[in-house]
């Protein structure tokens, strides 16, 4: 009975605080405080600070600001533009033409940036004007971009996966590795969709791209080399066990700084803007994590997570059914809040459930990212939609409609992940551990 009261009170406080637009991190703290005061005799404030301090001063977390910073450097300097320039010669011959640059651009930028909004912003800034001037239909430009930007969270580095890993105490390197193949498969699905549209679409495909001399293709693609090299070093060092996730992030920052310095686009203003931008974003995530740490402590005291896990167990749901339920749950949750917040908000409850059901937590992280990202391109609240709206001045509704096929593909991806879990689990099981 206590559990029922606990659920009702928690949910009421949560909806009240979040709905009234209290900042997410502070709202979580508020809810946690209510729980502590009502269900325990422990002094809430002292317990709160002990938990928050332990979490905030942990070494694992340092990967977060560094990866954010690395993405910021690439975003603020000319490195990413160059990368884009090197990419387009190879896409022009594919059926569907330069639309593929949206997908490939997002895939590569995703490998240096941990956020889908940054990926979207970066690629969209360059591809939208280009594709429009070549007469590609607007709905394809925007739809493919909205979908492909979600790769930002799948392909390592990924801020959501860092936050997930820190919350449930799993290896961030393993989570990153788990994201590689599903990310590539998803990118493949998007590209296949463009090809299918090209052959079977309504016929509004643009004219074929003019051919380009081979020597020029080679010359242009040299622009890809620096960023691709950085991607290989960062991901490769983690895969081969030379570096932990944090160290790979540090290598990434140093590499990005060196590359942009060599290229000549690193100056005091780009440096300081990227650093301050990273500071703000990492403080934002830190506040959410602080709130989440306190909330999960508080929930632990109420016994709610264990009760929920037992409840789910008593239903005898098969893992597939549980995953289906959670998919719907996260899609609905994602309609109202951003991905990071929905991860930290739910993990205290969902983690015991997943463990009891015997689902691999690394796999679940990837599943979570796909579902949450799907929610980011569905209205009313979809962060990617907002970014695209700011860039294209289209209505949210229109952007959401163009993204519907991509949402379908992402849900297909969830099904693929369920059928072939090895896609996510094979690589992390085969990385070399540093001894």
């Amino acid at each position: 009975m206590t559990e029922l009261y606990a659920i009702i009170i928690f949910l009421f406080a949560l909806f009240l605080l979040l709905g009234s637009s209290v900042w997410v991190g502070l709202a979580l703290m508020g809810v946690a405080w209510v729980g502590m005061e009502l269900f325990t005799t422990r002094p809430a404030g002292d317990a709160m600070i002990t938990t928050i301090w332990t979490g905030a001063s942990s070494w694992t977390l340092t990967a977060l600001p560094l990866f954010i910073w690395m993405g910021e450097i690439l975003f603020r300097t000319r490195l990413s533009q160059d990368m884009f320039r090197g990419l387009s010669p190879w896409m022009r011959f594919l059926p569907g033409g330069l639309l593929h640059t949206n997908i490939a651009g997002c895939t590569i930028f995703a490998a240096v940036s941990g956020s889908s909004a940054a990926t979207l912003n970066m690629v969209g800034k360059m591809s939208i004007p280009e594709l429009r001037s070549r007469g590609y239909p607007e709905y394809m430009i925007i739809g493919t971009l909205a979908g492909a930007a979600t790769l930002g969270l799948m392909i390592p580095p990924s801020l959501t996966l860092i936050v997930y890993g820190v919350t449930i105490n799993e290896s961030i390197t393993k989570l990153f590795m788990a994201g590689v193949f599903p990310g590539l498969v998803l990118a493949g699905l998007f590209m296949a969709y463009i090809v299918v549209w090209h052959f079977f679409g309504t016929g509004d495909r643009p004219q074929k791209e003019p051919s380009m001399p081979f020597s020029k293709m080679i010359k242009e693609s040299l622009f890809l080399v620096p960023v691709m090299g950085l991607v290989c070093v960062v991901i490769g060092s983690m895969y081969l066990g030379f570096a932990t996730a944090t160290e790979a992030a540090a290598v990434g920052v140093v590499g990005a700084l060196i590359l942009s310095a060599v290229q000549g686009s690193l100056n005091w203003s780009t440096f300081s803007v990227s650093l301050m931008g990273a500071t703000k974003t990492s403080a934002m995530i830190a506040l959410i994590l602080m709130g989440a740490a306190f909330l999960s402590l508080s929930m632990g005291f109420t016994g709610l997570p264990r009760a929920m896990a037992e409840l789910i167990e008593s239903y005898n749901l098969s893992p597939v059914a549980l995953i289906a339920v959670l998919t719907v749950f996260y899609l609905i949750l994602g309609m109202f809040m951003d991905g990071l917040s929905s991860v930290v908000l739910t993990m205290a409850i969902v983690e015991p459930m997943i463990r009891t059901a015997g689902i691999d937590l690394i796999w679940f992280g990837i599943f979570l990212v796909v579902v949450i990202e799907t929610a980011q391109v569905t209205p009313p609240i979809g962060f990617n939609l907002f970014v695209l709206q700011g860039m294209t001045k289209h209505e949210i509704g229109y952007i959401a409609k163009t993204a519907i096929p991509m949402v379908g593909l992402m849900l297909l991806m969830v099904v693929i992940l369920v059928i072939f879990p090895e896609l996510a689990t094979w690589l992390p099981e085969n990385i070399r551990q540093r001894n």
């Binding site: 997410v24 600070i49 600001p65 912003n121 609240i381």
Partner: protein, 237 residues
């Protein structure tokens, strides 16, 4: 409420929660007076937030240097004792120092679905949300400071291998002492390394959370005085 000792004759919670709330009411009912009173303070506060944002950025660079240092140490087979702990402290410093700055720049996430419904909600819901946030942040700050003092009293030391020079501790300890106690402190200070006491890095938590609470109160006052939010965010992050 047993945890709130009296301060200047009134319980501490009265000073921390009631007085700022009363001031917020003044801002609501006498906006022009509040503006006249505060308009010189606001630019100063903005600089303070920015200054701590910059301090936080410096600590982010320090994280980078510490981690690179650790890697170099590993390659050259030397030891860098306590490197992980120091990186953790630097992490706490970046996070806490930038909290207020990120708030004033509109970087913290909130669920804005009801907020953007109409003009009425935009003002009143924002005011309500800021008031609740301000209370929460004040509570957070109050216990952060309490824990900080407690760590000092209990002489809580690190669990790791990280050591700091003792003079650094004395330097920070001076700020919490009367000037006539400084001589005694320094005469007891040796030039040796000691295991890091937890209170030292926790100072960042105390300062950062206090600043966050101040920033939220500050922006609540601004919201009420100007009748619109003064938190502007970049168009696209």
């Amino acid at each position: 409420m047993r945890d709130w000792q009296p301060f200047l004759g009134l319980p501490l919670w009265f000073w921390l929660f009631v007085i700022p709330t009363l001031f917020a009411l003044i801002c609501l009912f006498y906006p022009s007076k509040a503006k006249r009173l505060m308009h010189r303070i606001w630019p100063v506060m903005d600089r303070v937030y920015l200054a701590f944002g910059i301090l936080s950025a410096i600590f982010m660079v320090i994280i980078l240097l510490l981690i690179v240092g650790q890697m170099v140490a590993r390659w050259t087979n030397t030891v860098f004792p306590g490197g992980t702990e120091f990186a953790g402290y630097a992490m706490a410093c970046t996070s806490f120092f930038a909290l207020a700055f990120a708030l004033t720049q509109g970087s913290h996430i909130r669920v804005s679905i009801f907020l953007n419904m109409n003009g009425f909600l935009k003002f009143w819901l924002d005011a309500f949300a800021m008031l609740v946030s301000a209370w929460t942040a004040t509570y957070f700050a109050r216990y952060a400071v309490k824990t900080n003092f407690l760590s000092e009293v209990l002489n809580d030391r690190t669990q790791g291998l990280d050591q700091v020079p003792e003079w650094l501790l004395s330097l920070f300890a001076m700020t919490g002492q009367w000037p006539w106690e400084w001589g005694a402190t320094w005469s007891n200070t040796t030039s040796e390394l000691v295991y890091t006491p937890v209170w030292l890095p926790q100072i960042a938590m105390s300062i950062g959370t206090i600043l966050l609470a101040i920033a939220i109160w500050d922006h609540l006052f601004r919201l009420l005085a100007y009748r619109e939010t003064r938190i502007f965010r970049e168009a696209i992050e």
